[in-house]
Amino acid sequence: MSAILEVRDLRTQFDTLDGVVRAVDGVSFDLARGETLGIVGESGCGKSVTALSILRLIPPETGRIAAGSSIRFEGEELTGLSEQEMKRLRGHRISMIFQEPMTSLNPVLTVGTQIAENVTRHLGLPKKAALARAVEMLDLVRIADPGRRVYEYPHQLSGGMRQRVMIAMALSCDPQVLIADEPTTALDVTVQAQILDLMLELKEKTGTAIVLITHDLGVVAETTQRVVVMYAGRKVEEAPVEALFDNPLHPYTRGLMRAIPRLDVEADAAGTRPRLQEIPGLVPLLTRPIIGCAFAARCELATDRCRTTPPPFVDAGGGHIVACWEAKP
């Protein structure tokens, strides 16, 4: 498998009143063709900014991708492309769906228009053909009566349907990469499962590689093949999904796992299950450079070395790498 997307040393920074925020601080990963990669972490760890950075959608007034960052798509360096060239790429070869289906669709345009304009823009289809394509796409994401629905406005659709529309829109030009930023977080649990199943099924059909960004390890376990764990703007661990769940190496990853409710753990004699544990402490401020390991302040294993020297990645074999001085691979 050759990588379709290679991200190297991505640094994205924002100017705020309190100083420069290093939202993403040297993240690297690869995405193989047709693969589903999960990026997981707490809110504020930089996973959404990573997604926006790949499409270069960081608002230029406040933020920037720092020099030295590299994002290669099919071997082409995206950080050097002009805005016009990026526009031709977005929604066509790399597309994106967002967390809030309620607010991510334009309320004053019909869903048909919103899907069709993408097709017209990138595939040059005339209006009528583009609208026919929109109907086809709505059918593909299993929206009933698509011929009528194309003429409806977002407020006439339920949350789940809107996310289906978002997916239809994102896939309408057969992209090679789909970036899904918390696609199910805002939805009901039952609808979440349907949307995830739909995404996986469509991925099988179209061969689109997916970057799935989520804070939900359950979603990661169900849908992805490989996982990148992020903390405070940095990648701390990366592994094939089974390896990660069988043998989480980074103390932060372990902390995340302990925070998942589990049904497979037996209740003890008194009938109580082990309590869910949360990771003590807070994410460090990103306005000042972090010396040493970003997690050191919250880590029970932290030593002086952790606080002064950033840990290098250690290869645990089988594509499992971790950045921790104390992890025993």
Binding site: G281, L282, P284, L285, A297
Partner: protein
């Protein structure tokens, strides 16, 4: 948690005029400009001559060292007249702002608070709002003898509905707040409720709105005087000076452009002050305009 709060020293906060001006450039600029104009309006007339003194020999002189702003067709010194004119503009602007704010506040509080009053008063306000303000003033003036007081009354009437609407909206939104509802349920008296909770909240939008009313009043007064329906012609107001300059505009453009420039500058100062206050006091409104 504590560990992080520790290494976050807050910058020391001391008041400094320089910082205050840099933070609110529009308030500072508008305020200073307005203070200057106020000074001229209050003290200026004692230092200049008689604004009504006619000197036909010196008619239509362009601005020069002797007549800074030139003279009009009667040889009257336009600098003197412009200085006097600032009085009329500021008196009208400030008193219209004050009267319409008080009246509007009273009506707005009543409307927001008493359902029965609301229906009637708001119908009347809708009707008044339908009449363009200058026409409403004109109608009133047609029926009375011209005087500064009548002009002020004529401008106050169309401005009141604007204030009423703002105040009423604030009162209604505050009344639906949980803390007010619980105060009502707890048996707090109406008067106390109005005084302690509602009134303070109306102040910021009221102040902002009244600066706009002040600017608008100055423009309407000048417009009325320009049309010959404002303050009596023997009172030098900027609108009057401009109206009298019309006939000889081609050869004496200064008689219109200079007082006109002062009028625009004054309105600009008030508007800037209003914009600055709005950004500062009423961020919700600030985002909308």
């Amino acid at each position: 948690m504590v560990a992080i709060a520790d290494d976050l020293p807050l910058p020391p906060r001391r008041f400094s005029l320089g910082t205050a001006i840099r933070r609110n450039p529009t308030i500072a600029f508008g305020g200073i400009l307005l203070l200057l104009l106020l000074t001229v309006a209050i003290f200026g007339p004692s230092f200049v001559g008689d604004p009504l003194k006619i000197a036909p020999v010196n008619r239509l002189r362009p601005p020069s060292e002797r007549w800074w702003f030139g003279t009009d067709q009667f040889g009257r010194d336009l600098f003197t007249r412009t200085v006097y004119g600032s009085r009329v503009s500021l008196i009208v602007g400030l008193s219209v702002a004050a009267f319409s704010s008080l009246l509007g506040l009273a009506l707005g509080l009543a409307c927001g608070y008493f359902r029965r009053v609301d229906g009637i008063v708001m119908r009347i306000m809708d009707g008044l709002m339908a009449i363009p303000s200058i026409l409403l003033a004109i109608a009133l003036i047609t029926l009375t003898r011209p005087s500064l007081f009548i002009v002020i009354v004529a401008i106050v009437i169309p401005e009141v509905p604007r204030i009423v609407r703002v105040v009423r909206a604030v009162v209604l939104s505050i009344r639906s707040q949980p803390y007010i509802e619980s105060a009502i349920a707890g048996g707090t008296r109406n008067a106390k409720l109005l005084w302690r909770h509602v009134l303070p909240n109306t102040l910021a939008p009221l102040i902002v709105q009244s600066t706009y009313v002040c600017a608008s009043a100055m423009l309407v007064e000048a417009g009325l005087s320009f049309l010959g329906a404002g303050v009596p012609p023997e009172v030098p107001s900027w609108g009057n000076i401009i109206a009298q300059g019309r006939t000889f505009f081609q050869i004496a453009p200064w008689s219109i452009l200079i007082p006109g420039g002062f009028l625009a500058l004054t309105v600009l100062a008030v508007n800037l002050l209003g914009d600055g206050l709005r950004d500062r006091l009423d961020p919700r409104l600030a985002r909308r305009l």
